[in-house]
Amino acid sequence: MAPIPKSHPMADLTSPEALISANGLTKTFPSPRGTLTALDNITFSLKEGSITGLIGPDGAGKTTLMRLLAGLLLPDSGEIRIMGNNPSRDPLSVQGSIGYMPQKFGLYEDLSVQENLDLYADLQGVPRNRRKELYAPLLSMTALSPFGKRLAGQLSGGMKQKLGVACSLVHQPPILLLDEPTVGVDPVSRRELWEILRKLVRESRSTLFVSTSYLDEAERCDEILILYNGKILGSGTPESFRKEVAGHGYRAETPGQSPRIVEPTLSLLPGVVDTVLEGSTIRIVMGGDTPPTFSESLGEIILKSVPPRFEDAFMSRIKKITNATPKLISIDRLYPRQSRNKNNKNGSPYAIEVENLVRDFGSFRAVDNLSFHVRKGEVFGLLGANGAGKTTTFRILSGLLAPTGGKLVVAGENVRRAAAHARQSIGYMAQKFSLYSQLTVFQNLTFYSSAYGLSGTQQKEKIQDSLIFFELEPYRNVSSGILPLGFRQRLALSCALIHEPSILFLDEPTSGVDPNARREFWHIINALATVGVSVLVTTHFMEEAEYCDRLLIMAQGALLAMGSPSEIKEKTKSPRIPDPSLEDAFVSLLSDFKKTQGDQK
């Protein structure tokens, strides 16, 4: 255990009125590859009565910081003050004044909603006679009142998350710490939670500290703290961040050309900080006020100025410290010509054909008469709220689950009859980057390539190419379990691509990863699509949805909407929201659906 640091004279430096302040906070953990610095000399203070967002990708140190504040970890050095107390030395008095929700919500799944609330009220010493008046607003705010008797384990992800918040609020703490409350939750529930948090600050002047890896959530905070590789990369209001990059953002349309093909070239132009696909357009962020200039060879590009957003500022800052330029993908190396031809051997223009797909679990119909087609070379997104049936559909298409009824053709093979054969043309990458953690990078590649029938020199060359292409060579003999997240993702992708499949299945492939790594990842996916590989993505994550050519939104097992991101946004355009984001569109489609459902009942 680390020695408790002596009282710092620096404590005086932090502003006395700050509710929470940290000074020179450093925390390291031992790891198989030497010491890991989770937090590196962090200093900050939070404003009272506001929501501060702690923004950063997975592995940035967010959870470590939250746990330090809650007194669950001891810092190596540095000092924390919460309402004048030091959680490292006197955790009990700090813990009485904070509410804390850990990542998995901290609920007892076999206790009911009411019993969970009672437990935390008892533990926090909330007098019994005051409970009724305290519970009422909590339950109405979280809309959990009708579910008092339901077991927490039977709640949906969104409801669990709200109950977790309610439980951390039973003793009316002035400070609330929430560690990634919105991870794995669909956009509708995510929005509802933010409304609850807003209301909390407005009505009871609480101070909230919320960590998240979703950059778009930063816009909903009053203050932002960016954490990146254990260091603070910036702080301020969303407004101040946006101001930094005001006038730097453009939206480019490329009539006559797929934006997929143009985007990598644009990203390498001088002065360009960030490029990102948004449906059929490309968002470009420049390092300064000068607009990008294009050479004739790029074809026609129509440029429109767009309002700045937080992510632009985030990317600009990361670019300054990482200095990395995305490499131009030489997809020919990874996907030799013969595999492209292979994709076109049968006449059908479709890679996946689904007709009247049905899947029942007992009496519950998870997928209800679903029909759609995915074209060759198309990036197709499968979206839906939690429990809408998209995971079931995804698993059926990838051959992990048998359908109850319907017709299903994948890569020209009827999956129900020729499953093993169809699998040779499928690549699959699960959300958790399923790799053999005890095996090294090289051993993982060897195993998967053999599983797909590669052998001899062909196999050796393929593995070598993959190691070079995904920049995994330095990690060749490292166990995959201890790779950094971004490299684990690369390895998972390289294993999924080792047999040059014509169809790629991706399950939330870039949730939580560093935005830089996400862009690189999608560059590869885009390049694959341009050579004719079809990609099916399922995600909660609207930024990933923006990369898709077409989206299918599911609700209660059936098709709710289908079309390109722009078409879907177009559908929900209203006077109130003239330029809806994809998330706006998704939320409004689902709430319309719920309304009609309610009307029918």
Partner: protein, 371 residues
């Protein structure tokens, strides 16, 4: 050919996954070794250093001679001498002694006058088995002495003594009985742990889905799990057999071929059961509980420590499903009785039947779970 290569790689991967991790390497090597040593020394019915008390009211030389036989035996340890009946209860109750030898004051006199002389022994029956064995020891000492007295005084030995010959284990050593049993027990533990948890671990890590989307068939995947289990079971069992022969000097009288045929079939059935557990559970923890719930009854009902013949008929019928039961027979017959293949055919057949049906069931459950 292509397929063979794929399965080979699966096996290789399985080995790497098992052996690259320090913890699982330890689990495979350390506990079996420690258990073999500890169990083999601890699990014995032979008694040593039995504390006993003497209550001798006789002053003659015969009683002293008889008692000298006890104090001279390595099995017995004199813990006290008493003079009153009241002293017996505290010694026995508090387990200070397991045995009190009482010799009445007329013992030597009676012996000289050819009246039956009485030796009374009191035994602690709380551990009835110990008491029974102890009584046997006492009887041997007393009857040896009786015979000596008789011949000394020129009269024929009084009772027709029973002459005993114990086949296969002439000195009735417990270790000869227990150690071959431990070979079976540890082999079962290892094969079960290797298979029962491996699929669950892949499920938890998500690699099982990744395997299923490859062109490998469920049969290939099962084979990929079975073969490493086989190899590990065989290697561990061989190690234990070597230790049993070298350290514990258990005679290996039968044919090694017969032993390994049995081992092969036994591991097959163990793997079948392990995979069946594996196919039914979804987490490693459930797998562990499942393996445990199978292990405990199958050890108890195998005849490892207590004979199956002593069990009620219903339980005896239940043991027919227990692969360890058959392997125990094979082990002991090969080790001690020098059996060959032909005598053990029924056991081989039973193991084969259990193994094949367990593997078929495992395959069925796998397919149903995926369906």
């Amino acid at each position: 050919m292509q397929r063979l290569l794929r399965i080979l790689r699966l096996v290789q991967k399985e080995f790497l996954a098992l052996l690259r991790d320090k913890k699982s390497r330890m689990v495979l090597i350390v506990p079996p070794t420690v258990q073999l040593l500890v169990f083999s020394y601890a699990a014995t019915f032979d008694l040593n250093n039995i504390s006993y008390a003497v209550w001798n009211e006789d002053t003659g030389r015969y009683s002293r001679q008889l008692l000298a036989r006890f104090s001279g035996s390595p099995n017995f340890k004199l813990a006290g001498t008493i003079t009153h009946e009241q002293e017996v209860a505290p010694l026995m109750n508090n387990r200070k002694v397991l045995l009190v030898i009482h010799i009445r004051s007329d013992f030597s006199r009676n012996l000289l006058s050819s009246t039956p002389a009485m030796v009374e022994v009191l035994l602690d029956g709380r551990q009835s088995n110990t008491a029974m064995i102890l009584l046997g020891y006492v009887e041997t000492i007393v009857s040896n002495y009786t015979t000596e007295i008789a011949s000394e005084r020129g009269i024929p030995p009084p009772i027709a003594p029973i002459t005993l010959r114990a086949w296969y284990n002439p000195n009735l050593k417990s270790r000869w009985f227990i150690v071959p049993g431990i070979v079976g027990l540890l082999t079962l533990v290892v094969t079960l742990l290797v298979t029962a948890l491996s699929v669950a671990r892949e499920r938890e890590e998500g690699t099982f889905d990744q395997l299923l989307v490859t062109p490998l068939t469920p049969f290939d995947i099962i084979l990929g799990k079975v073969l490493p289990g086989f190899a590990i079971g065989m290697v561990e069992a061989t190690g234990i057999i070597v230790l049993a022969v070298l350290i514990f000097h258990i005679p290996l009288r039968g044919s090694v071929g017969a032993l390994y045929l049995g081992l092969f079939l036994f591991i097959l059935s163990g793997l079948g059961v392990g995979l069946m557990i594996s196919s039914l559970v979804s987490t490693q923890q459930q797998g562990l509980l499942g393996a445990f719930l199978f292990l405990v009854p199958s050890i108890i009902l195998s005849g490892f420590a207590t004979p199956i013949a002593n069990m009620p008929t219903f339980i005896q019928n239940l043991t027919l499903l227990n692969p360890l039961r058959y392997f125990m027979v094979i082990l002991r017959e090969v080790f001690l009785q020098g059996a060959g293949v032909s005598i053990l055919l029924p056991e081989y057949a039973a193991l084969l039947a259990i193994g094949v049906s367990a593997l078929l069931l495992a395959g069925y459950f796998f397919r149903r779970k995926l369906g």
